[in-house]
């Protein structure tokens, strides 16, 4: 079959596709460098001529801004103001100055710890479940669907029961890293199980049997033979689960109070009843939040492509 030509129609289509995919990213990056009076304007400011890093300072090093403005204007018992009021050169108005009292580092740290560990847990449990189902027919035809049923109802339906269970005396898992890790692993295991099962199904069972004939135990055969052969699939599944965990909002909101915070919850806090959505600050945090994913994606892209195409050709 001859290769199809890449004509002008394809180029235009591709350009539209690219624009559609890249525009939100461009807008996010652009907004993150805009001063507050350019966040929502008509006509829109595409690229600010008054670019600023204030939004990044608010989320990463708010103390710099706080120091610049001499603290917050707050009154003592005697009616004296403890710091200067906002001045015209201030980048952050008094209305939203509360956001300068805490950075977003806690949420960045929380997102990394929780997403990494819950992804690992989900992959380990999902892999073992996938092996049991694919190789040993564990639970017959019913179990795989039973596992998947965990994803068949809206998360809000199980969010409150999670709070009740996790708040029980003796468990007290709310507002803890391990509580959220457990919850995330529980809700992503159906995905990891099914995705990994499909990769294992594509792998000839005879290879593992040959390894066992050569003296390996079942565990050894699966760990030393199966895992390396489905490495691409494992990485693709891990990235998929990681993205799910990284961007999850509902469980992070209901299961945390003060000790633990994640980026999606922190993003939703940059909203003031007086000044509305803090679009620039939210965009800055969103930009920061995609950095780890971009780095990870860059290093694993080779495996990712292999993983995504694994099983594309039916045996």
């Amino acid at each position: 079959m001859g290769a199809r030509k890449f004509g002008p129609g394809s180029a235009i289509g591709l350009a539209f596709g690219l624009l559609f995919a890249v525009f939100p990213l461009f807008w996010m990056v652009s907004t993150s460098f805009k001063p507050s009076n350019e966040w929502v304007t008509t006509p829109p400011v595409w690229v600010s001529e008054n670019g600023t890093v204030t939004n990044y300072l608010v989320i990463l090093w708010p103390s710099v801004l706080l120091e610049q403005r001499g603290g917050l204007g707050q009154y003592t018992e005697e009616g004296e103001v403890t710091a200067q009021r906002a001045t015209e050169s201030d980048a952050v108005s008094g209305a939203v100055a509360d956001f300068l009292t805490k950075s977003a580092w806690q949420s960045i740290r929380g997102s990394i710890i929780i997403s990494v560990l819950s992804t690992m847990l989900s992959i380990v449990v999902g892999f073992m479940a996938a092996i049991a189902i694919a190789r040993y027919r564990f639970g017959g035809n019913v179990t795989p669907f039973f596992i998947l049923s965990g994803r068949m109802f809206p998360p809000i339906a199980i969010a409150i029961p999670f709070v009740v269970m996790f708040s029980a005396p003796g468990i007290e898992a709310t507002d803890s890293y391990w509580g959220l890790i457990l919850a995330y692993a529980a809700v992503t295991v159906p995905f990891s199980t099914w995705m990994l099962k499909s990769f294992i199904d594509e792998l000839p069972q005879e290879i593992e049997e040959a390894a066992m004939m050569d003296g390996m135990s079942r565990w050894e055969a699966h760990i030393k033979v199966t895992v390396p052969l489905i490495k691409g699939g494992l990485i693709a599944t891990s990235l998929f689960i990681f993205i799910l965990n990284w961007s999850e909002f509902l469980f992070a909101l209901v299961l945390t109070y003060t000790n633990v915070e994640t980026i999606p919850v922190k993003l939703s806090k940059y909203f003031s009843a007086t000044s509305g959505q803090q679009y620039g600050i939210q965009a800055a945090l969103a930009c920061v939040s995609i950095v780890p994913l971009v780095i990870v994606g860059f290093f694993i892209q080779r495996h990712l492509v292999r993983g995504l195409t694994l099983g594309a050709i039916k045996r």
Binding site: N37, Q74, V96, D98, T101, S272, T274
Partner: protein
């Protein structure tokens, strides 16, 4: 007398004192005696309670906590509770962005009472959901929650909000009487549900109208009075049209037609016509001729509003138009006035001051109203605001109440409201009539006096169980009417159908009872106009 005789006599005496007839042999209490005794106790307690309610303040204070001010009584109460408290930290769920009203006082409270404070920040849009989550999970994680009054009905019905009446009797926060009180009707619908107080109010969020007095003067026009730009809605529509100057990028009206925000205009305008959300039987009145006519009036105004009216909400309208000098007037909450007169903090270009130090470009007005005979009746929407609610699942409810009373007390609120990094607004009489210099600086000009006058016209949102659903039905259909996707008639018929369906689902009898309670917390002229006093359950 032997020991056993003494014992018998003592037992007889006890029974006599309790008005119970002892069995002649063993002094056991019969079932009838027990019922009699308990009834006697109940009647006695009831009588004392009735007497105390009628008693002069001095007598009541003898029973209440010590202290000359609400703050002192709260501190003394908390101090007395500290040693025996099961928990030494009061955990507070507060809406994001309002930390400036609370965090500066943590150490002060701890020093005064021993109780530490834990501030749990929740996204401002999720306060209701987090509070309702606690209603189901009953974790006791929050001692205090700070939701909007709109949430009170749901929180009270779900059992998570603790009625505060007994604590208020004991500690007297001075919100219902005295020189520092919160005036009716906000005192009632801002804090009460079905006759009980569930929240201590802390944020005076009823509407006003900010307008450009300099532009009005340029046209050779004048406001109706110092605190009234116009009297009626008709005059408002006319004046806005007169001030409209599209050639100079200056818009006559800056109302909201975007989702969520638009309903407040309809609620403010329609209720001044003597038209409530529901009738006596809890049937929606959205599709009545007045309801539909009001939508048409609001659509007619769209011609003199900016193109972004369908996307801009309160803050965008303010930041991009009013504070940038591109609009004649805007309805809004107190922060509209505060920040449009704060050139430094909010990049407002209309914050000029005259030689007397008063704002020279902007003025503040009560919202317009409707003439009923000779009487001008206004209905000024009260939306958002915040309440300190004590959780029923807190192990330290009384201490939590004491903190709530302390921070919302006349002096403390005077200190906390002007703070940067918070958004609570003036609400007590002392804020309006005896403001500190700092307080006045935050709300300059005639704002405080106007806001104080306007409180008597304040009307509530649909503060019933399922409030968010009722309001959403209104919001979605009004948006459709403003966008031209539905005719005003269709939109309001759909609103009424949906609201009636919500009522049926939640239980008409219960909702009707709550609605009657809310209707009795409307401004008196409006109650009279609608005839609420003749309503029967």
């Amino acid at each position: 007398m032997s020991h056993s005789d003494k014992k018998e006599q003592f037992t007889k005496e006890l029974y006599r004192l309790w008005s119970m007839h002892a069995d002649r042999k063993n002094y056991k209490v019969s079932r009838r005696d027990l019922i009699k005794g308990m009834a006697g106790l109940g009647l006695g307690a009831g009588a004392i309670s009735m007497l105390m309610k009628q008693a002069p303040l001095s007598v009541r204070q003898a029973w209440a906590a010590d202290g000359a001010t609400p703050e002192e009584r709260a501190i003394n109460g908390a101090k007395a509770l500290f040693d025996s408290a099961e928990k030494k930290t009061i955990s507070i769920m507060y809406p994001s962005g309002s930390g400036g009203n609370l965090s500066p006082f943590v150490e002060e409270w701890k020093g005064l009472t021993g109780f530490d404070l834990e501030l749990i920040e929740v996204p401002v849009t999720e306060t209701h959901q987090k509070a309702m989550q606690e209603a189901v999970a009953k974790t006791g994680r929050y001692d205090i929650m700070i939701p909007a009054p709109l949430s009170l009905a749901d929180l009270a019905e779900s059992g998570v909000a603790r009625p505060l009446d007994d604590y208020m009797d004991k500690y007297d926060p001075e919100v219902y009487s005295g020189p520092n009180q919160l005036q009716f009707p906000v005192s009632d619908f801002g804090q009460k549900y079905k006759g009980k107080t569930y929240g201590l109010y802390c944020d005076g969020d009823w509407w006003h109208l900010s307008y450009r007095k300099d532009k009005l003067a340029e046209k050779g026009l004048a406001p109706k009075s110092k605190r009234e730009m116009v009297h009626t809605w008709g005059e408002y529509d006319e004046l806005c049209a007169t001030m409209h100057d599209p050639d100079n990028n200056f818009y006559g009206a800056l109302e909201y037609r975007s989702p969520f925000w638009n309903k407040f205009h309809w609620m403010t305008r329609v209720q001044s016509k003597g038209h409530f959300y529901f009738d006596e039987d809890m049937n929606s009145l959205a599709d009545t001729p007045q309801g539909i006519e009001t939508v048409k009036e609001l659509i007619a105004l769209q011609d003199i509003m900016p193109a972004e009216q369908f996307t801009y909400g309160f803050t965008e309208n303010y930041a991009q138009y009013y504070a940038q000098g591109r609009g004649f007037c805007e309805f809004g909450w107190p922060s509209l006035w505060r920040y449009s007169n704060d050139a430094a903090g909010s990049q407002s270009i209309i914050a000029a001051k005259g030689e007397d130090g008063e704002p020279s470009q902007t003025a503040v007005s009560k919202v317009p109203g409707t003439m009923h005979g000779d009487e001008l009746i206004r209905s000024c929407i009260h939306a958002f605001a915040w309440d300190f609610v004590v959780s029923n699942y807190s192990p330290i409810q009384e201490a939590a109440y004491c903190f709530s009373q302390w921070i919302t007390g006349p002096t403390m609120s005077m200190r906390s409201i002007p703070n940067e990094g918070g958004y609570f607004d003036p609400w007590r009489d002392n804020h309006f009539f005896a403001p500190s210099a700092e307080f006045f600086a935050a709300y300059p000009g005639d704002f405080l006096a106007t806001h104080a006058e306007a409180i008597v016209d304040a009307v509530p949102e649909i503060q019933l169980r399922g409030a968010a659903e009722y309001l959403n039905a209104l919001d979605v259909n009004l948006t459709a009417a403003y966008n031209g996707n539905k005719s005003p008639e269709e939109a309001m018929e759909d609103t009424a159908k949906e609201q009636n369906r919500i009522t049926r689902r939640l239980g008409k009898a219960e909702q009707k009872e709550s609605w009657h309670g809310l209707a009795k917390m409307y401004p008196e002229p409006l109650q009279k106009l609608v005839g609420v006093d003749k309503w029967v359950l």
